[in-house]
Symmetry: C2
Subunit: 153 residues, 2 copies
């Protein structure tokens, strides 16, 4: 049983979240505000494009990824994201998709600058209901250390 | 004078966009939907947190970055983003910030799989009104080739 502190995290641990259901309305609304390209906001234009239909903005897919990081089970006491590497979006997110996030811990180390937390590096993969990856990246985040561990150092 | 085709892009070129004005209401609304952590949605909780006040979700900052890529001047005929490397968010986005994007072309090469386009690699930096970087990354995108260049190959 884990309490989600840095001390509880082990390399190779996996966490899961989802599904997140993506509606056509949400794809269009998000893109109108942040990425108003025809293949994100106009069904007819999208059908004629190389995408062959509406697809979510990369910014929207990233927002859904961040949303699901808040729901990962078992939970980890993440304080802040430090950055993301090798972010790729190999397949488009489509209206009606159901998205699932998986996180696997790659590395952990104590923070040099923050004694109350540690740095955890993880591989994230967001997949649709067919198992196709729609977003993948390596993320680095700060995770809270157990209070008694901090007191003992 | 450039027409924004792959053939017109040169290593070292720079493009700019902005400002994008970030309101408190937009920060809270975005975070309520995609990243409902207290320091993104609750002013009192945010004031007590290590952030010392409301800050935008990383997903929101990324969405503003994508939004501004659509407005870069001079424009380039970008077809699709292929991915992002070394994405970092060194400073928080705050209510009232005015954000400016700068893109600098690092590399260009023809696409192996798509004769109608080329791959351009660029350094992106999103700064606030004080010049502090709030998001930086290296992005790879497909840019349309000039139609006559395609016909001549």
């Amino acid at each position: 049983m884990t309490n989600g502190y840095f001390e509880d995290v082990e390399v190779g641990d996996s966490q899961k979240a989802g599904p997140y259901s993506v509606s056509k309305e949400e794809i269009i609304q998000f893109a109108k505000q942040y990425d108003p390209r025809p293949f994100h906001i106009d069904e007819a234009a999208a059908a004629r494009s190389v995408f062959g239909g509406l697809s979510a903005s990369a910014a929207h897919t990233f927002a859904i990824f961040i949303s699901l990081t808040n729901e990962l089970q078992p939970p980890v006491r993440a304080i802040a994201g430090l950055g993301y590497d090798e972010l790729r979006l190999p397949n488009a997110v489509r209206p009606g998709d159901e998205l699932y996030l998986e996180a696997i811990t790659l590395e952990k180390r104590e923070s040099k600058s923050r004694p109350d937390s540690g740095v955890v590096r993880g591989q994230f993969r967001l997949r649709n209901q067919k198992g196709d990856t729609v977003l993948q990246c390596v993320g680095n985040g700060l995770v809270a250390r157990r209070p008694d561990a901090k007191a003992s150092t």
